[in-house]
Subunit: 317 residues, 2 copies
């Protein structure tokens, strides 16, 4: 009779998480939903997990990275637009005059998005994003933006997938801004990315069909738009949702309202030293009403400073 | 030494197809794209196959089944709307006066769609569709509508999936009309259904969040809308596309334009006896320009009458 092999301890699926309430809640949720025959079991096809992107899977300071992309694009395109030297908000962007850009308000911002996100084919836009991600550096960390992803959240994504969950991004950001790099960075394929979108126009150019991006909003995947986007793209109510701001409030409510076992999580940015600290009064990623409901309903609120051993992948030993 | 077991012939993956040019093209495509190391190989993550629904996966005569659903709903709702007795197009629907309904034109049709597809929650609508599919009978075949699916196409779906393809519906019909039954009938989950959609409104009703369907078009997934829908929902160019009409022309062109191994197929309705025969002059499922391009480019055009041993699953021995 062969001797019994020593039972190896299962490797920790969330090694970058301290053993706090959030880690315990995530591990309990996965154990509950995958335990065959239990009342908390969730059928494999219903294992839909949704994640906000900005501030939930990667940082969003000092501004949404997609906005920083747009500003970089304006600078790159400026030589072809001599009139921008004297025209706001372009002048402000070129001269680094943030005040002047801000003074142009929402109208100015939409102009910036229009010239940088429309008027080219989807293929051309995708290439621009790919090039930017490969070369641009974050102002504080001097690293490519796609390195500013949260190591603990990468572990949650992998852990859920290893347990039969289909992981989705449901972001207020542009679908076509995320798709070129999300697959490699998050392991989430293009067809599992829900986000805001602009209208496109089908054309035949030199005998080849193309989709030309128009300066017209198609869908805003934020706040009330998130449950609508989930319903449209996925057609099922998720059983797991993670966000970081009031923009995710309705998505979290929508997830909570489905029957059966549920997980609602919020990343609370509490670490001014390693990342940033902001919540109720912040202009970016305001966390106020969703936080109140989370406290009231017992949703998971991650204290980044206390619960995360590392923030970014490069900090790992 | 144990004797070698006899090598069993691989079972035919497309038993309802006669050994004609279409079956050969489908089998060759799958062999080519899955042959490791060949120049025709397609990586598993890029194996995206899209199918039109009406006229491609199920019948669409004497009218689109979703329209027949709307007419049945008008009749069911009539007792709550006494004014409909004297008001077109409702009067015509209730009295079975097709001419009067048709005379109300596009405006009338939109009114019918509005009262039957809006003003309720997505959950309520889904239940209505489920109930209708379970009880309504097709006027010619006296069977539930979801039995009027094409057995040879079910085999193509299963064959592709068995070879690592992700199968999608890309239909001009409503997403929420297809989702309640497509999973069971086609093996295609809700998140792999692309279609036309109406706008929705997020609301809290009795403490529970709901999405209320509005009588406002969100997206029309037909003609030029099909490549746009594929780009928005899937974010990859398919390598395999099957349609039946000019509504699929752009989807087929879009698929053909991607590099590498490609399959473009059209179901040609040629069987007036077992199903219906129609093409260039038909009001439903007009097949004209797409057919011309198919002939010119060598795309696969299925002659239903000659190439399909059976049309519907119930005809199988
Ligand atoms: Ca966010
Ligand atoms: Ca069709």
């Amino acid at each position: 009779v062969a001797s019994q092999p020593a039972i190896a301890a299962a490797p920790d699926p969330l090694p970058s998480w301290n053993d706090g309430p959030s880690k315990q809640a995530i591990v309990k949720f996965v154990a509950d939903t995958t335990r065959q025959g239990s009342t908390t079991f969730v059928a494999p096809e219903a294992r839909i997990a949704v994640f906000d992107n900005d501030g939930t899977l990667w940082s969003e300071q000092p501004a949404y990275f997609q906005l920083l992309f747009a500003l970089d694009r304006v600078k790159a395109l400026a030589p072809q637009h001599p009139d921008w030297k004297t025209k706001q908000p372009f002048k402000g962007v070129i001269e680094g005059d943030t005040k002047a850009v801000m003074a142009s308000g929402e109208k100015g911002l939409l102009e910036l998005i229009a010239v940088t996100h429309a008027g080219m084919t989807t293929e051309e836009f995708s290439k621009t994003v790919t090039d930017w991600i490969a070369t641009a550096k974050h102002p504080r960390f001097k690293r490519p933006y796609n390195e500013l992803v949260f190591q603990p959240m990468l572990e949650v994504l992998a852990y859920l997938r290893a347990n039969g969950f289909k992981t989705y991004i449901v972001s207020g950001g542009g679908i076509e801004f995320m798709r070129p790099w999300a697959s490699k960075v998050y392991g989430i394929p293009p067809e599992q990315i829900v986000g805001s979108s602009g209208k496109v126009k089908y054309e035949i150019r030199n005998g080849k069909p193309v989709l030309v991006k128009l300066a017209e909003v198609d869908f805003v995947d934020d706040k009330e738009g998130k449950p609508a986007g989930i319903n449209k793209f996925i057609g099922r109510v998720p059983v797991f949702a993670f966000g970081n701001s009031d923009g995710d409030h309705q998505m979290l409510q929508w997830t909570a309202a489905g029957g059966g076992t549920r997980f609602m999580g919020i990343v609370h940015h509490t670490d001014a030293k390693r990342e940033w600290a902001y919540d109720r009064k912040s202009h970016i990623g305001t966390l106020d009403k969703a936080w109140d409901e989370a406290t009231q309903k017992g949703w998971t609120v991650v204290d980044m400073q206390k619960e995360w051993k590392v923030i970014y992948p490069w900090e790992q030993k």
